[in-house]
């Protein structure tokens, strides 16, 4: 029962992270534009201030720093390989079973 609960919780966190990713994609151009306008040295200070305010008022979940790379199989937030998008444990399991193309355990 406890294991079942934890799996559900991880799934929920993955859903949350997924929503954040979608938000980040949606607001990416806007965020970049405001950031660039704040950085521009030729703009007057009032305009810069305005853009800074706008940047701060974007939804918080659209920030790229809120995104966490999670394991796509178990939802583990740590020790996730970016290339395989899975945690070290899943990776090891699948690799030793030979399910990953081109991955082989080294031995010499």
């Amino acid at each position: 029962m406890a294991r079942n609960f934890s799996v559900l919780a991880e799934e929920k966190r993955c859903m949350k992270d997924h929503n954040r990713r979608l938000m980040a994609e949606k607001f990416e151009v806007k965020r970049k534009l405001y950031k660039a306008l704040v950085r521009d040295p030729e703009l007057p200070n009032e305009l810069k201030e305005k853009h800074r305010y706008k940047l701060a008022k974007l939804p918080r979940n659209s920030s790229f720093t809120r995104i966490r790379n999670r394991c796509i199989l178990t939802g583990r937030p740590r020790a996730v390989y970016q290339l395989f998008r899975m945690s070290r444990i899943c990776f090891r399991e699948l690799a030793s079973r030979g399910a990953l193309m081109g991955i082989k355990k080294a031995s010499w």
């Binding site: 994609e25 970049k32 040295p41």
Partner: protein, 123 residues
């Protein structure tokens, strides 16, 4: 003796001026080359290191790649699997209800009981 000294000074001056001219020329050439390079490759020159928006704008957009981290679960497309999951959920609820662990009726939950308790001493 005096003449000799003058001559030496003259020579050293000449050498110096020649050296400075050379360095000026070299500088101009280097500048021209960097400018031409920037023009050809579309770089933006910022030799004084001023704050600019270009540093942010030149980066690629990563949103599309970031949003595709989680793959689509094909089980959600299969009506058979979804029906089975729904069936399991309903069965579980039914079992809980039989054991008397189902949801309470309106006005009989924990919160409602507490509310009634609080309101009665006041009356």
């Amino acid at each position: 003796m005096f003449n000799l000294r003058l001559l030496k000074a003259c020579i050293s001056y000449k050498e110096m001026s020649f050296g400075s001219l050379k360095s000026v020329l070299a500088e101009a050439a280097i500048k021209g080359v960097t400018e031409a390079r920037a023009r050809i490759f579309g770089h933006i020159l910022n030799p004084t290191g001023q704050r600019s928006a270009h540093k942010i704008l030149r980066k690629k957009l990563i949103g599309e790649k970031v949003s595709q981290w989680y793959p689509h679960d094909i089980r959600h497309d299969d009506p058979l699997v979804m029906a089975r999951q729904e069936q399991e959920r309903l069965e579980k609820l039914e079992m809980l209800k039989r054991r008397g662990k189902g949801p309470p009726k309106k006005g009989q939950g924990k919160k409602a009981a507490k509310r009634n308790k609080v309101s009665t001493p006041g009356k």
